[in-house]
Amino acid sequence: MSTHALHDMTVAELSTALAQKSVSAVEITQHLLTRAQADTSGSFLNLNAEAALAQARRADARRAAGQGGALEGVPLAHKDIFVTRDFPTTAGSKMLQGYRSPFDATVVRRLGVEGAQDDAQASGGAGMVCLGKLNCDEFAMGSGNENSAYGPVRNPWDATRVPGGSSGGSAAAIAARLVPAATGTDTGGSIRQPAGFCGITGIKPTYGRASRYGMIAYASSLDQAGPMARTAEDCALLLSAMCGPDPDRDSTSLDVPAEDFTRHLADPLEGLRIGIPAEFFGPGLADDVRAALETALSALEKLGAQRVPIHLPLTELAIPAYYIIAPAEASSNLSRFDGVKFGHRTPNPVDLLDMYKKSRAEGFGAEVKRRIMTGTYVLSHGYYDAYYLQAQKIRRKIADDFQNAFQQCDVIAGPVAPTVAWHLGQNASDPVADYLADIFTLPASLAGLPGLCTPAGFGAGGMPVGLQLIGNYFAEARLLNVAHRLQQVTDAHTRKPQGV
């Protein structure tokens, strides 16, 4: 096998090549590290060749001994919101510059190399080799990866455009063939929207499926981890390893056993009812996005699916509801950054209060401060009922609307965003413009439903367009099945940016 093709291979293809011993984990890791080191897109915040190669050697040894599963030795990289012992963790914030976690996140451990660590934490990992950490919006607050304290990420399809966010580094690195797969987190669309903007596949499972332990908290009732890769099959492989109960470490981890999400990939789509919400296809949707979605939906119809018109009447109100609930939770979660136990501390504080205020003012970026302020305000005395409680009631109504819709359909399809990726700096002076662009991903987030994004085609400027599929609770296997069948009859997911 020629090494120049290694970066074009999917997780499934690499898995097969490793099983056939036509390539070693060390060779793949070395090849991808060389590419990542030469990259100028800003996707990686940290690479650790030594740690990655040590993991790869261990994976090769396990394969040689006949041990390890399908993912053993296949490289990936983690969004820098997951804490890791082998790499610094920043959450894209100056607040955590140089921070080193004493433990690995559960998701990191589940995907990682068994025995890579010398303590009780090391058990039962899937054996993937971690190359490094990927850029993201500061504390996952953003839709374009422009809020990272370590600079923006450039979209591999057009370096003047954003990759989406907040998992922008993950999406860009996969599209640029730097890694075959990566982890992401999705609070209001942060896996699905960057997957759409970069022409890859990503899935956010049902809230509570994947452990939040070691995932730096933004909005705890919304945050959920998920895989990003080029194909639905690869996402299914990773998701199977990521999910499962973590009752002792995450109080909101669902008591639902891990499952093999690849088992229904090839199922036929005959009779599948695809709900088309009128509110997702209104005048706010760009024509190029609409046209690409139409192509993908027609392809699904040829596979035997049928479209069913449905309504999600409160779609627009998902924006204010989300941008009240998420900042409220963020203001509480981020109160831990006080300059005492970890994180930035101002150099010469006058007293304790001065230390808190200055450390936080210096460590947090502008958008994070705005969300902390908004959250503090809506939770403050006299405003709680009018804002926070009302937002939670809207949240209930949105969740109920989905249940009504699922009486009529099996999955719901729509855009992930109203337009293709916007230009860097375009919304810099108007954060509300970014908020409005989240309209199609926020409803499923508020309801805690699984959502997937698969490439639908291309729009203005040759930029990728994503098709969002939303399923009912625990319907991840169905979403992956629909995306996989679509990917077997279309080629948008196989196209790559010029120069890659």
């Binding site: 080193r100 009780a120 808190y356």
Partner: protein, 99 residues
């Protein structure tokens, strides 16, 4: 309704954030821009709607889990303090609190 600069000062204090005057003015502008969106949400009649605090409630009864009262974490003081801004003899240092 719109927030004012004095609201911003009060909120910043509650949030333990030092805001410079021009920063406060900019943030005020943007936060007020967002609250224009919120007005539509406030108009919705939600009488008798039970607030949804957590999506898990839709799937299974939301009960706080308790784990067994047993030591599960090894002592990792050094690892836990490796990223601390100021440590002395295994203790976190802060500015003097008591005179």
């Amino acid at each position: 309704m719109s927030l004012t600069l004095s609201d911003m000062e009060r909120i910043a204090n509650l949030a333990r954030l030092e805001l410079l005057p021009d920063e406060a003015a900019q943030a005020l502008d943007k936060i007020n821009g967002f609250f224009n969106l919120v007005e539509a949400m406030r108009q919705v009649d939600t009488t008798d709607v039970v607030p949804l605090a957590h999506p898990i409630e839709v799937v299974q009864p939301m009960a706080l889990r308790l784990r067994t009262d047993a030591a599960s974490e090894p002592n990792a003081r050094e690892a836990n303090q490796q990223s601390a801004p100021a440590v002395e003899r295994g203790l976190f240092l802060v500015p003097k609190v008591i005179e």
